[in-house]
């Protein structure tokens, strides 16, 4: 087994330095027995070796130290050559062989399956520094050459203006920054979305908020569709709020070739129909709670429902990361015990 590419099931939360935040989190979910699509990770070792081959003295990344995180033009000037070099760098043959072998092993009966190529940086998806959306993801990749191109593009995205600016602002040292890449079987998604194990609008931890739309999750994450939205009680399982929206667009895999994802109109008869059933909703919420219970902090989970699999086997979790917006707020206790229970009432009724 090489240390350049590892199957997702072999890694867990402690392997962030090797497989990045996303890879570690997905590995952990597989270990928990959660339904995660088959995947492997091109490790940070592979990234570091490629970088070392390009820039043995580390001179290039040294040019980023001390830049002004708000000076976009300056950052662009400093990072563009790095990205260009990484995007065009030769891949060592051992790595190429490993990547291709794993890619082929995802399919069955000799045919390959479409994959998502997702960047997984170290330091990403941690509670205090959410890199959400700062690095690249490529969907619906079907052939080896494209896969290898996207692998390099993911590496290069570690040096996007946004990523570098983010590290500078947060004081994350460049030497510690590395990029792993997750290659994961695409889900032929009928519906997808995100869910939060607390209310994103009120921070309430007694509910799971689920957003859902037709097709691939990219339309939801990208905000191109107003998703259906559900608030489900963790305590009773009841759907407390249900907003079925008019879903005009959806992303679907482009079956014809290399274009990846197609943006299309939702057929009119589906637009105002709920994109998940109540049964599916209940299963999703249960999965979200399993993830949250495991990590002990609120989670933000991406999910999809495959339309080429039977009910019971068609739910997938694509990623989970700690929720950051509410978890970082410190709160005073809302109440404290009083000498006598009725003092609570006397105090409240006594207020003018």
């Amino acid at each position: 087994m090489s240390d350049l590419v590892v199957p997702i099931g072999d890694v867990g939360l402690l392997d962030v330095q090797l497989v990045g935040g996303k890879g570690a989190s997905l590995g952990e979910m597989v270990r928990l027995g959660l339904p995660v699509p088959p995947a492997y990770v091109v490790t940070t070792t592979a990234f570091r070796r490629a970088l070392l081959a390009l820039d043995p003295a580390g001179a290039r990344s040294a040019t980023l130290v001390g830049l002004d995180p708000d000076d976009r033009a300056g950052l662009e000037e400093a990072t563009a050559p790095l990205r260009e070099a990484i995007g065009a760098c030769p891949l060592e043959s051992a790595l190429q062989e490993d990547v291709v072998r794993h890619f082929r092993s995802l399919g069955t009966g000799g045919s390959t399956v479409p994959v998502a190529v997702r960047s997984s940086a170290t330091g990403e998806d941690s509670l205090d520094a959410s890199f959400a959306g700062l690095q690249d993801t490529f969907l619906w990749v079907r052939d080896e050459a494209t896969l290898l191109d996207h692998l390099r593009a993911c590496w290069a995205s570690l040096y996007s203006v946004e990523s570098v600016s983010y590290r500078l602002k947060r004081g994350i040292p460049e030497e510690g920054a590395a990029m792993a890449v997750v290659v994961q079987e695409m889900v032929q998604a009928r519906s997808s979305g995100v869910m939060f194990t607390r209310s994103p609008s009120t921070g309430d931890r007694s509910v799971v908020a689920v957003e859902s739309a037709w097709g691939l999750g990219s339309a939801v994450v990208g905000g191109e569709v107003t998703p259906d939205s559900f608030t489900v009680s963790k305590v009773t399982g009841e759907v407390l709020r249900r907003q079925i929206s008019e879903k005009l667009r959806r992303h679907v895999p482009d079956g014809s070739g290399d274009a990846g994802v197609l943006d299309e109109e939702v057929p009119s008869q589906l637009r105002s129909v709920p994109s998940v059933s109540d049964e599916e909703l209940a299963l999703l919420v249960a999965l979200a709670q399993t993830v949250e219970a495991h990590y002990g902090v609120s989670q933000d989970v991406e999910w999809a429902i495959a339309d080429d699999r039977p009910p019971g086997e068609n739910l997938y979790l694509l990623q989970s990361r700690p929720e950051t917006a509410w978890s970082n707020r410190s709160t005073e206790p809302l109440a404290a015990p009083k000498a006598r229970a009725f003092d609570h009432v006397i105090e409240a009724l006594g207020r003018a």
């Binding site: 305590v235 709160t331 229970a341 009725f342």
Partner: protein, 604 residues
């Protein structure tokens, strides 16, 4: 007059309903709006008085509002309230709160309030036990009151015991005693109600801060009793349905059968029929003293007085029993669920001190909540239906003496006017003559009946006067659930072009269906399976209808209203407290009832 234009009309802008211009004669002068009232915010008490008040029924508002403010402001000395005022216009009751605003005065009152409220909380179980005895004593006394016959000559006993006064004296004395008992019972009704609701609201507010998305029904579920009196009348019907099937007399309990036919039929069924009738009688006292309404109107008869309502329920339960349903509530499971809901919310709290406060508040609620659930049975149902029945007996006396055409007409007179007419009878009996001026009384009765019919067509605005900046009265909040949000909802609903009716999300789920608008429980036989019930308010008598409908919508009520509780138990959507549903929805309209959002949409 105020220059300010809010969404609501001023009291002085309300005009008499054409055809009922004389409505004011039905109510005591102290209930009328005056010019000074334009400066205050008034809300329509649709919760308790959803129909125009007959002249006699004005007593329900008189004794209740005499008791509420007295309890809060004079007995317990709630710091921020001086009481609740009421007015009647076009037959409808409007309320305003009188707040205490001076902080120094609030502080002075707070010191007294803490001591007095503390005493009740501290001794709650004992005091509540004694309360039940006092209520029972009032009911017993009322039931024991005989309306004098006023026969040819008084009993011999009047002489042998040297009583010294004739029976006509007792007519008015006993009438007064009935009225006084009604007042006492209303004072007792209020006695615990604010403190009990207060405990609930404090718990609810704490949970809503900790869990902003928590549905009110989950809070209610943690607190609610399982074996509460409110379910009992309906449980008795289920028991009688099972019994009828096992005794083989269920064929007599058919839909729409006249009570007389049913009871006569059963009497002819030998031992089985006799057994069932004996069990009916056993259930009937006290459980069928339940009112067919909320108990504040004279025409809210008890099941015992008017068995059509329980019989309609029975026929439905009988067919369910035949179909193999034993109709038993899974009380053990409900109890476990209640504990599980509480356990889970408690576990979701952040800090140990919050959990300790949660335990205190929940514990207090469970101590005080039985009062909330039970007091209505004693007061609004049992006592009140018996009180109106007693008034009918006085009506019979007036009818026998030719003052009225029929006993029921007594309810077209104010209790002050009945007092006069009883004097009229006392004098006539004493003088060996006939009561004087009876034609005039009969004309008044006829006139008022006609006016009530006209007033029923009036749509009372939910509120009058300037929109308040803050609504801070504990009684208004606790008893009517009215907050600044409610008032905003009313203001929005005041727009007649909207097909959207906002209420409170009382029971989750969304369904579409056909509306059936019912004005009272006496119409429940009209409802067809699968329709959506739209009604002013429900009470335990409506219980049987919930097995038939697919959603419930009411004009009044909050999360703890009967419709809300029963809809949750049946797992059907309900929107309550809409204010306007029965006026804006017509039978046959297609509706979407969204119990998650508390919205009813008229689709077509």
């Amino acid at each position: 007059m105020s220059e300010r234009r809010g969404p609501f009309p001023l009291p002085s802008e309300i005009t008499d309903v054409p055809g009922a211009e004389g409505w004011a004669s039905m109510y005591a002068p102290f209930t009328r709006f005056g010019p000074q009232d334009d400066a205050k915010f008034w809300f329509y008490n649709a919760t308790h008085f959803p129909e125009p008040l007959p002249a006699f029924d004005g007593i329900s508002s008189e004794v209740a509002y005499s008791a509420i403010g007295a309890n809060t402001a004079r007995i317990f000395v709630f710091p921020a309230t001086l009481g609740i005022e009421h007015r009647i216009v076009n037959g409808r009751v409007y309320l305003a709160a009188n707040p205490v605003t001076d902080p120094e005065e609030v502080g002075r009152r707070l010191e007294i309030f803490q001591r007095r409220a503390g005493y009740y909380y501290e001794h709650w179980d004992r005091l509540y036990g004694e309360w039940k005895q006092r209520m029972q004593a009032a009911i017993d006394e009322l039931e024991s009151i005989d309306v004098p016959e006023l026969g040819d000559v008084d009993d011999e006993e009047v002489v042998t015991t040297a009583r010294g006064y004739a029976s006509n004296h007792l007519v008015r004395e006993r009438f007064h005693r009935c009225v006084d008992l009604y007042s006492i019972v209303w004072n007792h009704h209020i006695e615990f109600v604010m403190l009990a609701f207060g405990a609930y609201v404090v718990f609810s507010e704490f949970l809503t801060k900790a869990f902003p998305e928590i549905p009110e029904q989950s809070i209610a579920r943690m607190v609610a009793g399982i074996d509460v009196i409110m379910y009992r009348p309906d449980e008795e019907l289920k028991r009688l349905a099972r019994l009828a099937v096992s005794l083989g007399v269920d064929d007599l309990l058919t839909d729409g059968a006249e009570p007389r036919t049913v009871f006569e039929g059963l009497a002819l069924r030998g031992e089985a029929g006799a057994t069932w009738l004996a069990e009916w009688e056993r259930s009937s006292v006290p459980w069928f003293h339940v009112s067919t309404g909320d108990g504040l109107y004279h025409h809210h008869r008890s099941w015992r007085d008017d068995p059509r309502v329980p019989l309609a329920g029975l026929s439905r339960y009988v067919s369910q029993v035949r179909a193999g349903d034993d109709l038993r509530r899974p009380t053990e499971r409900l109890k476990e669920e209640r504990e599980e809901v509480a356990r889970r919310y408690r576990a979701l709290l952040d800090a140990d001190e919050e959990r300790a406060a949660f335990d205190q508040m929940l514990g207090l609620c469970r101590t005080t909540f039985p009062y909330i659930e039970e007091h209505k049975f004693y007061c609004e149902h049992w006592f009140t239906t018996q009180f109106f029945a007693k008034m009918r007996e006085f009506g019979q006396l007036l009818t026998r003496f030719g003052v009225l055409d029929e006993a029921e007409d007594v309810f077209q007179l104010q209790h002050y006017e009945i007092d006069q007419q009883l004097a009229n009878v006392m004098l006539a009996w004493s003088a060996g003559s006939s009561p004087v001026g009876t034609d005039e009384v009969k004309a008044i009765v006829a006139d008022r009946k006609a006016m009530l019919a006209v007033l029923a067509t009036w749509s009372p605005p939910p509120a009058l006067g300037p929109e308040p900046e803050a609504l801070n009265d504990p009684a208004v909040k606790l008893l009517w659930g009215i907050t600044a949000k409610t008032i905003r909802t009313w203001a929005e609903a005041a727009d007649p072009s909207s097909a959207r009716i906002q209420g409170f999300a009382a029971s989750p789920g969304v369904v579409e269906g056909v509306a059936r608008v019912l004005a009272s429980v006496n119409e429940i036989d009209q409802i067809l399976s699968g329709e959506i019930l739209v009604c002013p308010v429900t009470s335990p008598s409506w219980g049987p209808v919930f097995g038939k409908i697919k959603a419930a919508v009411s004009d009044s009520g909050g999360m703890m209203s009967h419709a809300a509780i029963v809809a949750r138990e049946y797992g059907m959507p309900a929107v309550v407290g809409t204010g306007t549903a029965t006026r804006r929805i017509k039978t046959g309209d297609r509706l979407r009832v969204d119990g998650d959002q508390g919205v009813v949409v008229i689709l077509s």
